[in-house]
């Protein structure tokens, strides 16, 4: 699928009045995350988590700077920074993830004879769908409710990591950081010069040119 916002990169605004020092510090740290770093998950768990992230929030292979989604999930677990509530059917966040990753690998092995990261995208998606629907082998999951885990932890932690990254903001045409400048044009179909231009059929070139000027 062609880019909806061709050439738009929210990071072009880094030195514009839409970003302040506080925001630059926060986003610089995020951009510097090593995609291979894992301080919480073990070397054995790591490829499983990475493969799950690839399927939940697939990124274009040619993207210059990919969001380090698995490393961001790892950082959340490492800091044990929870969301302020926990469904009573689930154990604490870290334990839930550790048990679930083991269960997902056990499922993959019993179904396909290989670990999750080795079974290929199609089978990975089949297995993830089964987990989402709670159609799992209870031995692997013990008393961990797969369906609840999928919704409350797996989707939540992975998707919220991806959409916290500027690569995702550029993809969806979000304006991104906006202090102190904010926005002026609030009406339908109006964009400030520092917002993403959307490509519609016939005007991709113009949108790309507009997006090159965003700043």
């Amino acid at each position: 699928m062609p880019d909806r916002y061709p050439g738009y990169d929210v990071l072009q605004k880094r030195n514009s009045p839409s970003w302040n020092d506080q925001t630059r510090a926060v986003i610089d740290r995020r951009m510097a995350i090593d995609p291979d770093h894992h301080g919480f998950f073990t070397d054995a768990e790591w490829p499983t988590l990475r493969a799950i992230c690839e399927r939940i929030v697939p990124q274009p292979p040619d993207r210059a700077q990919r969001a380090p989604v698995a490393a961001m999930v790892d950082e959340k677990m490492h800091k044990n920074s929870g969301d302020g509530y926990r469904d009573a059917r689930l154990p604490p966040m870290r334990e839930a993830w550790q048990r679930a990753l083991a269960a997902i690998d056990a499922e993959a092995t019993s179904r396909y004879g290989r670990r999750f990261h080795e079974i290929g995208a199609l089978l990975q998606d089949d297995l993830l769908k089964a987990i989402q629907n709670g159609e799992v082998d209870e031995k692997a999951w013990d008393d961990l409710p797969a369906k609840v885990f999928f919704k409350m932890r797996l989707l939540h932690d992975i998707v919220s990591s991806y959409y916290a990254h500027p690569a995702a903001w550029s993809e969806i045409g979000f304006g991104g950081p906006a202090s102190p400048r904010g926005y002026v044009r609030m009406y339908f179909d109006r964009r400030d010069p520092w917002e993403a231009a959307e490509a519609r059929s016939g005007n991709e070139g113009r949108a790309r040119a507009e997006n090159a000027r965003v700043g």
């Binding site: 929870g82 509530y85 604490p92 998707v159 102190p180």
Partner: protein
């Protein structure tokens, strides 16, 4: 960093942060812990912060404690949803029931200034009849308050916050015009307007606690759209930048990063002060009166955690109602796609509202009412709706998220019924202070489900009428917290009286959303602040009569 307000208290050594100036300080009076202050207030949000200000201005000695950090928004707030999660109460709480609640970012702040630091600023008055819901409308219970008295306090709060709103508000009895002009309505709000007009119902720009013109050192709102992750310009009129600077000026002391674990009492049963954790150890502040203002989860948790041999079921709990009748509000939505670009991330998230179904009693198969508002979810929140709520992931999620700038939604704040089975209790697990954590149990009743179904069907028509397509229902969301220590006229069926004074212990007060007997169909912050203003006036009057 030496000045990290999450790790080191800022309100120390006779000064507190000047929240309106980078790196600034203002002088702060301090009290000795052995000095029994007139009021120790637990919590500095809409209830506690407002009350601290008013009581200090009336000449009482006040120490207000908050578990959260003392932010300077100009220094500390980034334009980033992920980073700003630091504003939320993210200590563990367990949720269960048929409809387990989402807490944290959804409704729970941990900051000096409480949840108003991240609230959406929607500032609405109750419909007058809601104060007598049982007598006038046939459901719930009556409040021990008179709407005409509340109308005066609403005006006081609206003026204190310089609410920006329309010249004429379409619903309810007459009210003064809003102090500041209404904000420009963004495209998302205009979709609400188009739908309402097509269906023949009234709509209005939403009265908001963010200024539309300069006010002192608050600049007008620049429509950055990140209100619910903390306003970085101080346009938002939160408790942090309105009532609390006034409180400091009037001589109140505010203690940040101060987690109260227990309210103590003497042999006669009167409370003597609060035991709290700050700067690495447990401390005790003596007080002639204690006000608990921790909101509908931390307030009952503290009262229950303060159980003693004299009060084995917790403080102020002879009715058995502490922790019960927890109420949230329905927050269901319809979402759709517009051909036109909406870019709902610009401007405050709810710039247009209709209260039609709060003020219309015919054509309903349920008790209570609802407002609905336009929406402006930021990417993290929106991706959570699309994934966790709608079940999308993989390429379908990526594709749907790419339509972010064309999505539009209408979302209710709906009245849900008080039920004793919805409650806050103590779990076996303990937090970082060694205190038992809360278990929060919530289930809809049949009336709640009928209200939700009615609202979804109506909003779908409105969105269709405005030209949206691919409309779908978000059926599982709630907002705000209320109840768990309701006010009333009878000690057997309520925890506090109309003055927010506990029936059981005359020098123990509760002043936050916990005291609501019913919730109505509007955001609660304006009413919480109005109740705090009234409580301050009542305390002043009682003190003058020597009845404290």
């Amino acid at each position: 960093m030496s000045d990290n307000p999450e790790h080191t208290p800022r309100a120390l050594d006779g000064r507190a942060p000047d929240v309106l100036r980078p790196g600034g300080w203002v002088p702060m009076r301090q009290y000795d812990e052995d000095d029994a202050v007139d009021f120790a207030i637990v919590g500095t949000g809409a209830g506690g912060g407002t009350l601290a200000c008013k009581l200090a201005e009336y000449g009482f000695s006040v120490v207000a404690l908050d578990a959260g950090p003392y932010w300077r928004p100009l220094d500390d707030f980034a334009s980033d949803e992920h980073h700003q999660a630091k504003l939320y109460w993210t200590d563990e709480r367990i949720v269960d029931g048929d409809n387990p609640l989402q807490l944290g970012a959804n409704n729970s702040g941990k900051s000096v200034g409480g949840s108003t630091v991240h609230f959406a600023m929607v500032s609405l008055r109750f419909r007058p009849e809601w104060f007598k819901a049982r007598s006038k409308l046939g459901y719930g219970v009556d409040w021990p308050l008179d709407w005409r008295e509340m109308w005066r306090y609403y005006a006081e709060v609206e003026n204190a916050l310089k609410i920006s709103g329309p010249v004429n508000y379409p619903w309810g009895p007459k009210r003064p015009r809003y102090p500041y002009r209404a904000h420009e309505v963004n495209a998302a709000g205009l979709v609400l307007a188009e739908g309402a007009e097509a269906l023949g119902i009234a709509w209005s720009p939403t009265p908001l606690a963010t200024v539309s013109a300069p006010r002192g050192r608050s600049p007008p709102c620049v429509y950055r759209g990140m209100c619910v992750i903390g306003c970085s310009t101080n346009a938002k009129q939160s408790v942090l930048i309105t009532w609390l600077p006034r409180a400091l000026k009037a001589g109140a002391e505010i203690r940040d990063l101060a987690m109260v674990g227990r309210v103590e009492h003497d042999k006669s049963g009167r409370v003597t002060g609060v035991r709290y954790h700050r700067r690495g150890r447990w401390r005790f502040q003596r007080a002639k009166n204690v006000v608990v203002a921790g909101y509908s989860i931390e307030t009952p948790r503290l009262l229950l955690n303060s159980a003693s041999s004299r009060y084995p079921d917790g403080l102020a709990n002879s009715s058995g109602l502490v922790g019960k009748n927890l109420m949230v509000q329905a927050n269901q939505a319809v979402w759709g796609i517009m051909e036109r670009e909406i870019r709902a991330y610009k401007g405050p998230p709810s710039l247009a509202i209709t209260e039609h179904w709060n003020y219309t009693d015919t054509g309903k198969d349920f008790f209570g009412g609802y407002a609905y508002m336009s929406q402006g979810p930021l990417p993290l929140v929106w991706s959570g709706v699309e994934s966790s709520e709608r079940g999308l992931w993989g390429q379908p999620l990526i594709d749907e998220m790419e339509r972010y700038n064309h999505q539009v939604g209408l979302k209710i704040v709906g009245e849900l019924m008080p039920q004793e089975r919805n409650r806050v209790t103590l779990a076996d697990e303990r937090d970082q202070y060694g205190l038992p954590i809360s278990r929060v149990t919530y289930s809809y009743c049949d009336n709640d489900k009928r209200l939700i179904a009615h609202s979804l069907a109506f909003m779908r028509q409105a969105l269709e009428a405005a030209g949206a397509t691919e409309i779908w229902d978000e059926t599982d969301d709630t907002c705000h917290l209320n109840g768990t220590a309701r006010m009333g006229d009878d000690p057997k069926t309520s925890v506090v009286n109309a003055d927010c004074r506990s029936w059981d212990i005359p020098n123990l007060w509760i002043c936050d959303g916990s005291v609501f007997p019913t919730v109505g169909g509007v955001n609660p912050s304006l009413t919480i602040q109005a109740i705090a203003c009234r409580t301050a006036d009542r305390i002043k009057a009682l003190a003058a009569r020597n009845e404290l």
